[in-house]
Every structure is written in structure tokens, then in C-alpha cells.
């Protein structure tokens, strides 16, 4: 998935976004609106989702207007194929979602000193590409951990 595939129509000429993983061209149509921001980043409400071969299978969820916030993210089912989290009515409303199958799920990646990478399966990011709306969902009864460790293969 790329920003281009998610946003066929550009409403403003493409601009360059500097990231720790290189420079990416973005335009208004590739901007995902997070109405509530993310916990800890309540004021950063515009993000773009960037992909590149060096990042795969990760994506970079980057603040659209600068370096204020960026996160490495991965489809939770890449990490845990059985992963499944139900959306609440409020989440669907925030996402303008009518069809769950079109939603994009992302788990944020954390790299803690000495512990290796882990992913947050407890509070995934969900994006509705049809409306370019996103939010971080925090299901009340989730049994998934905040830090699901990525173990090295035996």
C-alpha cells in the first residue's frame, strides 16, 4: 500500500515530507484526519501513511506537516495472524465506517532499550481509506498486550 493508492485524486500539488526514512511526496488527498489526535499527541491530527521497500513490512505514520510525531506501524495480523479486535459504535462513527472489511489496521511499534521491538496490540490504529479518517481504538475488554514482543526466530 502506498499513499498514491490510497489517494488517487490530488487536490493540491504534491509537496515533499522529510522523514527519518527519506523524503516522500505527499498531497492533501493522502492526509488522514485523526479528529482526536492520538493519546499523548492530541494536537497532531493530520497524518500520512508512508511505505517503502526498506520499511516493509512496516509503514510510517507521520505527521503531515512536519516532524511533530511519527510512528512505525505494522499490520497486527502480520505479527499475530489470529489477531481480531472488535470496533465499538463510537469507533465506527469516528471512522465513518460502514464496511469493516475496508478498514486498515495498524499496530504501533516500540523499540525499548535492551528489549527489542514490540507492537501495541492493545490499542491499534484504524484507518478508513474511503473517508481518510483514522483513530486509535482502545477496546475496553481487549486481552491483547500493550507490548507484544517480536521474538527472534529459533
Amino acid at each position: 500500500m502506498t499513499t498514491a493508492q490510497m489517494s488517487p485524486a490530488a487536490s493540491r500539488p504534491s509537496r515533499q515530507l522529510e522523514t527519518p526514512f527519506g523524503t516522500f511526496p505527499i498531497d492533501d488527498a493522502s492526509v488522514i484526519d485523526f479528529a482526536d489526535g492520538l493519546p499523548g499527541f492530541e494536537q497532531t491530527r493530520k497524518f500520512v501513511l508512508l511505505s517503502s521497500p526498506e520499511l516493509a513490512p512496516l509503514h510510517l505514520l507521520h505527521y503531515a506537516d512536519g516532524p511533530a510525531a511519527s510512528f512505525l506501524a505494522v499490520d497486527p495480523r502480520v505479527v499475530l495472524p489470529s489477531y481480531r479486535t472488535d470496533l465499538g459504535a463510537g469507533d465506527r462513527l469516528r471512522l465513518g465506517a460502514t464496511d469493516d472489511h475496508q478498514l486498515l489496521w495498524l499496530a504501533l511499534v516500540t523499540m525499548d532499550a535492551g528489549q527489542g521491538p514490540s507492537v501495541n496490540l492493545r490499542a491499534p490504529i484504524v484507518v478508513n481509506p474511503a473517508r481518510m479518517l483514522g483513530c486509535q481504538v482502545m477496546p475496553h475488554n481487549s486481552l491483547y498486550p500493550l507490548r507484544h514482543p517480536l521474538a527472534l526466530p529459533e
Binding site: 502506498t2 499513499t3 498514491a4 493508492q5 527519518p20 527519506g22 516522500f24 511526496p25 482526536d36 492520538l38 493519546p39 499523548g40 499527541f41 508512508l50 511505505s51 517503502s52 521497500p53 526498506e54 520499511l55 516493509a56 513490512p57 512496516l58 510510517l60 510525531a69 511519527s70 510512528f71 512505525l72 505494522v74 502480520v78 505479527v79 465499538g88 459504535a89 463510537g90 462513527l93 469516528r94 504501533l108 511499534v109 516500540t110 523499540m111 525499548d112 527489542g116 521491538p117 501495541n120 492493545r122 490499542a123 486509535q136 482502545m138 475496553h140 500493550l146 507490548r147 517480536l150 521474538a151 527472534l152 526466530p153
Partner: protein, 90 residues
Amino acid sequence: MLVFTRKRDEAIMIGDGIEIRVLRVGRDGVRIGVQAPASVSVHRREVYDQIRDENRIAAAAVNAAGNVAAEVRKRLERPAPPVAATGTDR
């Protein structure tokens, strides 16, 4: 902070759409019911704080860790995809 004294089954209103009601008062805790529009997200404070802290660590990870993607790929046993596309595949 506004402070109210409430008995069991008594409630307070926040705006015209949010009701917070005391359902049960026990020795170790108070059971509270929250009725709010779907557009208002309601979370236990400590859960919100945990997720907020985790987000801050995750944001720091982007800059701190040199090659997280390679490390993740190794741990997922995923071979690197062929370098057919570059940048944003545009």
C-alpha cells in the same frame, strides 16, 4: 475541581448528553455508570495514561532505533521484498 456528594442511584450531568451515575458503593470501590453519546470516548484513566505513555515511547522509537524495519523483518522471518519499487511507488 467540582466536588459532589452522591448516594447510590444518584447521578450528575455533564452538558446535556453525558450522565454519570453511582450504581453501587462498596467497601473497596464505587461502581459507576457512564452514559454518553457514541462520539464521546470514555476510558479508565489509567488505561488512557498507559496508551499515551506507550505512544510517546513509540514516537521516540522512530528516531532512536537505526534499523527497526530490518530487525522486525528478521523477527518475523520475512524476506525483504524485491526492490522493484522505490520511494512511494508513484
